[in-house]
């Protein structure tokens, strides 16, 4: 089961790469919208396979006696991050029918998976600190939040790349602007829920709901940056390109919270290395 799950994940990774290329080609080659459609079909199929791989890994964990949900280390979190990114993107595609977004969002899912494939996929038992019912709630909320910010950053990049010389009042850009904001809101609410579940967990595991551990602090920094972004809407001149840049800066904070803290700073979250 574990081997099947790992093989599926390799296939999913390639599918995300192909889909990224398909979305890009469908967008650049205006005469071949079928490429974009093919990319959509492929992404849906890959997401189903991805879901199956995660469930299989979950089952395998119980089969070998490790007995935990597949959210316990960097490999598993990357796989789940890739899944949340693909899911969120497809929801936006369903709602907006704007396939070019896939050319910017799906590479993120691909890179998350590619990074995962470079790591050891072995299923290991849980450390005592991770044995908690809050693990699942904490990881799911955090990574759905990260995915919201990731898709928002992809939209921002799209806004900045395609926006040169265009009128900011162009309907397409208004839609993009609104989507950047909406995805930040999704990410912000879920990040808040992630920090809250993390605090509740820390309170029962470490005896304090907040200890200024680098991972906690960086999640707060990310939260503060996005809180500032949400308030910038109420200030004059903070629409369009500025917010897009802001959202990219926010996502850099997300990436640092996720990877940088574990690689460069020491702290309580070191098992996620």
């Amino acid at each position: 089961m574990e081997a099947l799950s790992n093989n599926l994940l390799v296939a999913v990774t390639f599918a995300y790469l192909l889909a990224s290329v398909g979305y890009l080609a469908g967008w650049v080659i205006k005469k071949a919208p079928v490429l974009g459609l093919a990319a959509s079909v492929l992404t849906w199929a890959a997401l189903i396979a991805h879901t199956a791989a995660i469930i299989l890994r979950w089952l395998a964990s119980y089969e070998i006696g490790a007995d935990h949900a597949p959210f316990s280390n960097l490999f598993e979190s990357l796989v789940f991050f890739g899944w949340t990114l693909a899911l969120l993107y497809l929801i936006i595609e369903l709602k907006t029918k704007l396939r070019p977004i896939g050319a910017f969002a799906m590479p993120l899912a691909f890179f998350a998976m590619l990074y995962a494939l470079k790591l050891d996929p072995a299923i290991k038992p849980l450390l005592p600190a991770l044995k908690s019912n809050w693990l699942i709630a904490h990881v799911i909320t955090c990574f759905l939040g990260y995915a919201g910010f990731g898709v928002s950053a992809a939209l921002s990049l799209m806004y900045l790349v395609t926006g040169k010389g265009q009128s900011p009042d162009d309907r397409r850009f208004l839609v993009l602007d609104e989507l950047i904001y909406q995805t930040v809101v999704v990410g912000f609410i879920l990040l808040t829920a992630g920090i809250v579940t993390g605090s509740i967990w820390a309170n029962s595991a470490w005896g304090t709901y907040w200890s200024w551990d680098p991972k906690e602090t960086w999640s707060l920094i990310t939260w503060l940056v996005y809180a500032a972004l949400l308030h910038s809407r109420y200030m004059r001149g903070w629409q369009g390109a500025r917010v897009a840049v802001f959202s990219l800066v926010g996502f850099v904070c997300v990436l640092f919270t996720y990877f940088g803290v574990n690689l460069l700073l020491s702290g309580l979250h070191s098992y996620a290395r």
Partner: protein
């Protein structure tokens, strides 16, 4: 009325400054930047660490600005206090207006329709369509108020006025969380107990120095570590008995993620190790050697007068080529004179001895497992959870519910026809309102097609 001072004065400017979104924006980013600094500089380290890393001048700057404990530095707390003031004043500034918008009578809105965003012309008079239009609007939005504007029949409905309070709930939640932290800091305490297996204690060492009594006692009956087959730790477990007035009152098991509570004080499994409890040693005085047993932290009378105790011991110390083995610190109280601390090494080890009249040599160290138990009393923690719940609920209301108003204006269009104009307003999510109006328009058109 706004609770603002008279316009134009310094007071007004001060108030406006504190009420501004710009200030919130700057404060949020300042707190973010400061926090970055706090994660880059080592926190709560000894002065020497900063001197070593940043030099004398750098260390002086770091200590001067309290960057060594930045998250508790006065200037960092001031930033937080400013944010709190900003939240309070900005909310007080806007709340009266919001309440007024919420309490507005629907009748007032009848003649204030926004510009039409959609419209359709149907056969029949306004009176013919009124009932159906009313039903459609009631279903799409809510209770309908009817009115007359000249020859025009106006139908008005609104929903979600309460959602205007969402942002205030969020701002309140931040204050509740802050107050929870303040309560915890003022009336709570945090500390640590290192308890040997079999020992009992009735006090704890506070994190910021000092000791306080618990008001009851706890005994570590047993400490165990379980391992997975691959050697990874599986579970740390302390079996604890609580005692009051010498009587056993409760038995609990502490594990990571499974704290225990007694009289509002929480106990957490935090660390473990082996602690040396007894030292069997050669006691050498004036060339004479006798075997003694010294207990940790307890004076033992020595043969021939004087007392000694074991201060601390390490089973293995590597001092380069000079010495490798156990080392113990022994306190010695001669029959007359000042007490002194002596270092003891393994018996028979070749150590260049500083000549003294008295020395100890280690024969054997006896150790026992100990459990490190974190202790916390935080009367503010419930405020934190209330604040967190309010915050998430407030976000959902603030971001996903809007105050929407919709007008249907039915006007005779001549030749027995009726013009229906659809207008709407919202305080957020314009796209959502547009979709609502489109649905309403389609419904009105479809209803007629069916009816005819």
């Amino acid at each position: 009325m706004k609770p603002t001072p008279k316009p134009g004065g310094a007071g007004q400017r001060f108030w406006d400054f504190f009420a501004s979104v710009k200030l919130s924006f700057v404060l949020l980013l300042s707190l973010a930047l400061a926090s970055v600094l706090g994660t880059l500089l080592p926190q709560k380290e000894h002065v020497s660490v900063y001197v070593q890393q940043f030099g004398e001048a750098g260390a002086r700057l770091i200590l001067g600005l309290r960057l060594d404990d930045m998250y508790h530095a006065p200037w960092f707390l001031l930033l937080l206090a400013l944010l709190a003031a900003n939240l309070v004043i900005c909310s007080l500034n806007r709340l009266p207006l919001t309440l007024k918008l919420m309490a507005k009578e629907p009748a007032e809105e009848i003649k204030r329709a926004r510009p039409a965003q959609a419209g359709l012309t149907l056969a029949g008079t306004p009176a013919d369509h009124l009932a159906r239009a009313e039903a459609a609007l009631r279903q799409a939005v809510g209770p309908v108020t009817q009115g007359q504007d000249g020859p025009t029949q106006v139908l008005y409905a609104e929903k979600g006025a309460w959602s205007r309070l969402g942002v205030y709930v969020v701002h309140l939640s931040v204050l509740v969380i802050m107050s929870g932290a303040v309560v915890g800091n003022l009336w709570g305490f945090a500390g640590f107990i290192n308890l040997n297996q079999g020992s009992t204690t009735d006090h704890l060492d506070l994190d910021n120095g000092g000791q306080i009594p618990l008001g009851f006692a706890l005994r570590l009956d047993q400490f165990t570590v379980e391992f997975h087959p691959d050697g990874m730790p599986k579970e740390y477990r302390s079996d604890i008995t609580f005692l009051e007035n010498g009587q056993e009152v409760d038995k609990v098991v502490l594990m990571v993620n499974h704290p225990a509570q007694r009289h509002g004080i929480d106990f957490y499994q935090a660390s473990y190790g082996q602690s040396v409890t007894r030292l069997r040693a050669n006691f050498i005085q004036d060339g004479q050697t006798q075997v003694v047993a010294l207990a940790h932290g307890q004076w033992t009378d020595l043969p021939g007068g004087g007392k000694a105790l074991l201060i601390e011991a390490r089973p293995e110390v590597n001092m380069g080529g000079m010495y490798q083995g156990p080392v113990a610190r022994v306190g010695y109280q001669p029959p007359q004179g000042e007490p002194m601390a002596l270092t003891a090494f393994q018996a028979g080890a070749k150590i260049p001895m500083r000549g003294g009249p008295v020395s100890f040599e280690i024969l054997e160290l006896e150790s026992t497992p100990y459990s490190g138990i974190q202790v916390k009393y935080d009367p503010g923690v419930w405020l934190i959870w209330v604040g967190c719940t309010l915050m998430v609920a407030g976000f959902v209301v603030a971001f996903y519910f809007a105050h929407r108003k919709v007008w249907l204006r039915l006007t005779p269009a001549g030749k027995g026809r009726c013009r229906i104009e659809i207008a709407g307003s919202t305080n957020k999510n314009r796209l959502g309102l547009t979709r609502l109006l489109e649905r309403l328009s389609a419904r009105l058109a479809a209803g007629v097609a069916q009816g005819e």
